[in-house]
């Protein structure tokens, strides 16, 4: 199962099936700092990700410049 990460952009191979919370924990990512996007929607932490899932992206939500 391919998982896209951003900042920097890179793709990881992850063994499926796996729940979103477990995936974030395995990657050492704080769940408060990202969204998990499957296809064009979001999934919650208890969602089960499998090999046949649409494109999976872990998108960071933290921005830290001078503010808009």
């Amino acid at each position: 199962m391919k998982v896209l990460l951003r900042n920097p952009r890179r793709e990881l191979d992850v063994a499926a099936p796996i729940r979103v919370h477990a995936l974030l924990e395995r990657l050492g990512i704080n769940r408060e700092s990202v969204l998990v996007i499957v296809g064009d929607s979001l999934v919650t932490g208890d969602a089960l990700l499998s090999d046949d899932a649409a494109a999976i992206e872990i998108r960071p939500v933290i921005s830290g410049g001078a503010g808009a």
């Binding site: 704080n30 408060e32 700092s33 921005s63 410049g65 001078a66």
Partner: protein, 305 residues
């Protein structure tokens, strides 16, 4: 997980509210939180003309979208900062949003109008890039609002931004900054009213709002901001939040309710010392305002890109 409101499958969990939401109920949740912030802090009315500071990022585009959806009279203002590819990409997201919805986007390009970009201006003024960027934004948002006859400038600062700024100000007991850290800064001579209608939404929520509303925004972090203190404060607060959901909101809103009034006198004293800048007319406590000093230093020999 089920939606707390309608019991359909949830697409996002907001642990601060101990709730999951489906797409329609989450978008309503965001609109409701913004409405509550506007009402609780008396930010503006339906007759006010609002200028939203738009960066092309998730917060400002979500704010613009929500205010338009709520029926407010709102235009966007985009500042070109001259930060290489980042500025051209972020500008295209702001323009695309406006074009697709028939919204009005005003643009001010700092390199074109003032002859320097943020990286070179920061170097010339010996400031951190985020400092030079922030003071330029505050100055130019304010002058655009005054010149354009807008009643209020709205920025996309969210709960995470405000909690991180508060954290930094408390660490250094910056009493002047603590006195000014409010969701509304009232209008004064030379100053437009400034409001932060997203203070009841975290940045995870504003990003989710954009994804679920099909709003494209720049996901990449500004290259000037990488490694700055503000990001470190957010990381520290998120370490606490994951263990104790609601901590950021309790920290920030507890400050507004119980502590901020203790510091308002300090901010009022600073405001009493303001006079018009001889360079641009903007209020300042110095001989020249910080923006005019930045322009002067960036324009000096060796200061231009």
């Amino acid at each position: 997980m089920k939606c707390r409101v309608c019991r359909q499958p949830a697409v996002i969990e907001v642990r601060r509210h101990n709730a999951g939401f489906c797409r329609p109920c989450f978008l309503k949740h965001c609109r409701d939180q913004v409405t509550r912030a506007i009402d609780d802090f008396a930010m503006f009315s339906s007759t006010d003309r609002i200028l939203v500071a738009v960066s092309g990022g998730k917060d400002s585009l979500a704010l613009w979208d929500i205010l338009r959806d709520l029926g407010y009279r709102v235009d966007g203002l985009y500042l070109g900062l001259g930060i290489r590819d980042y500025s051209s990409t972020s500008g295209s997201f702001a323009r695309d949003y406006a074009a697709a919805r028939g919204a009005t986007l005003i643009e001010v390009d700092i390199p074109d109008e003032f002859g320097f970009d943020i990286p070179s201006g920061a170097r010339a003024a010996k400031r951190a890039p985020c400092s030079a960027c922030g003071l330029s934004k505050r100055h130019l948002f304010n002058s655009a609002a005054i010149d354009g006859g807008y009643d209020v400038v709205a920025t996309g600062h969210n709960l995470d931004d405000e909690a991180a700024v508060l954290f930094g100000n408390v660490l250094r007991w910056e009493t002047g900054y603590l006195g000014r850290q409010a969701p509304v800064l009232p209008a004064a001579s030379g100053f437009a009213r400034k409001v932060k209608p997203l203070v009841r939404l975290g940045e995870r929520e504003t990003a989710a709002y954009c994804v679920l509303s099909s709003i494209d925004y720049i996901v990449e972090e500004c290259p000037m901001a990488v490694g700055n203190k503000h990001l470190g404060y957010k990381d520290a607060l998120n370490q606490i939040e994951v263990q104790s959901p609601g901590s950021k909101a309790a920290f920030y809103f507890g400050f507004l309710d119980r502590v901020a009034p203790l510091f308002t006198g300090v901010a009022e004293e600073e405001r009493e010392g303001l006079r018009p800048c001889p360079g641009c007319g903007a209020p300042t406590t110095g001989e020249l305002c910080a923006f005019c000093k930045l322009v002067a230093r960036a324009s000096a020999p060796g200061g231009r890109p």
